[in-house]
Subunit: 229 residues, 4 copies
């Protein structure tokens, strides 16, 4: 029998999470402001932020979704110009229940990487490699990898990030054990997020004002028809 | 072959459920008003309530979702300041199809506890412990536990709440058998609710007025980029 | 290898389905109007209808979702006063690809019956019993049952309705074989519909105008708190 | 252990995908405009486009959802007059990471075909046949088939399209290997899309202005009741 909360009662855990997520949430926001300056201010107004964070002995892991960007088309419609992602933020513990957010490491999952994570079997692993400087003169200088490996006995996964910086000669590694229950939250949240970070929820919303204006069906092929050619 | 409705035809069961849920729904609401006073009235206007209730021989169990709270940020955006939850309400039977709602016991599932419940295998159990007075001078006075244990043969679960009050010297236990079909409703409703109680549905909705105002892409890193540092 | 469309190419099947669903859709609507008279007209304006229909040799089966009803509360909020359902409509074939919609038989699935259907294993069956006259003087006069039984080899299910009318001395039975692919559509559509027919989608939508009006957190218990008593 | 990004780092892959999807997205749009002329312009304004594309050695495969059409009813409501679909677009490689979009082949999945795809077991296959000229004088001239067959070892699927044109004496075949992670994205996106292309999301949205106008319940049967006859 799973006894999730035996040693750390969940009432306590919850209030603790609350405080921490307030704190990390506000940091995330201020950082966004500090790096993005005035030109994004108008876009940020009305924006809502939400994350899911697990705090463990040596590090914490927070995940939050990032919306896709759309570009206006001449027709007045728009299309996805940049996929959204799911950002993983790792930050190390520097004491009992104290975490240093300034030493955070980021890893943004693409839609396909999200697909890999949510289809992971109980005994399966996956690993992703990113190079932040890909295609620039610094290509290969920094190598990031994210691996997810089973804890064993269907009890969850280790989520590990490694960042090798060959310029600064640093090699950072943070590792967070994620319980089966926590991974179930991540899997459910990521499955929910996936169509949204791909923009499918918006493509599947009817933005037409009203069906009243629909014309009689014409016989020539519909632009969405596979018979057009 | 499952014969769910053999002894209690579901047409009957439905009308019965209807009456009961009306009754319990209105009680829930009045209680909310009586304890929350005037300062929440404005928030409650427009709010919609929905639950799922199973009535069994010795007790009934009702579940309903609770929205997260958002706090305004200086930028005009907002972030989750308090996660939502899924509230379980147990109330004992005091006669044939009569339940005493004043003797109810509450248990609020956090997102991670919801994750544990929806990933429960047919033969698995889970148990959660809450202390309502955690971190106050009454810490440890009241202990609540919720356990979910299989009925056997993949036919559902027992959902049990135990509340031990060492001040009032009481020890209450309510137990509700939940069929496989009813648990399937709970699992589906909770999986649906999970991203919402975490605020992810709101974080994934485009609150930007229009893509028309999007500026030409700039080369400096996007604030949501993992390459920012 | 499944060859779903070998004998009835799906391009053909689709245009056929289209015509049929247009026809059945308009009948459904007209019937709603004829039995509901003027007092519902205002509610029907703006309402959208959608169904999923499979046409087989001896009968057709169409399913469509029905929204829950909400009742206004004194606070200005509202609560579910009547659960929604998923309506199954069977109608017999009266010739090649001709169906007699006037001989239709209806069966409305409650949330728990939907839960039973979507959790059905490949070799499992379920059966539901309804009495349309339950609790009236005609109780027991008409007995409806719906059974879902596997076709075998994980290839789908038979969906059968039996209606025994002991007044009119009739015993109607309609049976529709549903392929694995068609049942997958039903399972997906019903899983999507379930939180909606329970009203949870509306309970989980933030109807508050803006987070700007949120007050400083007060120390007395939140009305939604499990610690309230 | 899966090493998805070992040989083609995903940071690189993502920027590559971005460029490609921009390009294919704009082509898709322009084509829609060119074939649909002015009468659809008003409908296209406000429409949003999103797709999911995998680029492989010999061909690429892009999928995007298409909304259902609704027809206005006399009551003011509306019903699905044409189901949506999920369009698969194949285009061949004509060099390293160069694809010829003018040689594309289209295949539109109906709801039931989507149901078949999302319920496919790891070792199962499916095949669909379409005739673009069904019921016209050109019936049988062009035969399209789509097959999905396992790559083996639960590592994904081959998605193949064959188009035989007996007038032009052509026989085109494009084949795209899809990894388990990519198929997981497709399965998740298609499961999300399915209720939308059937119009169920719109049928399950409350378009009633307010519950305040709800009348006292009348005793005659509700038009949505199964007891109406």
């Amino acid at each position: 029998m799973l006894r999730l909360s035996r040693f750390l009662p969940s009432a306590f855990k919850r209030s603790f999470d609350l405080k921490e997520s307030l704190w990390s949430g506000s940091l995330t926001f201020q950082q966004a402001v500090s790096t993005s300056a005035a030109n994004l201010d108008e876009n940020l107004s009305g924006k809502r932020y939400a994350s899911y964070t697990v705090f463990k002995g040596k590090a914490a892991l927070s995940i939050h979704p990032i919306l896709p960007s759309f570009s206006k088309l001449e027709s007045g419609g728009s299309r996805v110009s940049r996929n959204g992602s799911v950002m993983l933020t790792f930050f190390p513990a520097v004491g009992q229940r104290k975490y240093d957010y300034t030493k955070k490491q980021l890893f943004a999952l693409s839609p396909t990487e999200v697909g890999s994570l949510i289809s992971l079997g109980p005994a399966e692993s996956c690993e992703f490699f990113h190079d932040p400087s890909m295609k620039s003169s610094n290509e290969g200088m920094v190598k990031k990898s994210l691996s997810i490996t089973p804890l064993g006995s269907d009890s969850g996964y280790f989520v590990n990030i490694t960042v090798v910086n060959s310029v600064e000669k640093t090699n950072d590694r943070l590792s967070v054990p994620v319980t089966k229950a926590e991974f179930s939250v991540m899997r459910t949240a990521l499955s929910f997020a996936l169509p949204h970070i791909m923009g499918w929820d918006q493509a599947l919303t009817n933005h037409h004002p009203s069906p009243a204006i629909s014309k009689p069906r014409v016989e020539r092929p519909h632009p969405d028809s596979e018979w057009e050619r």
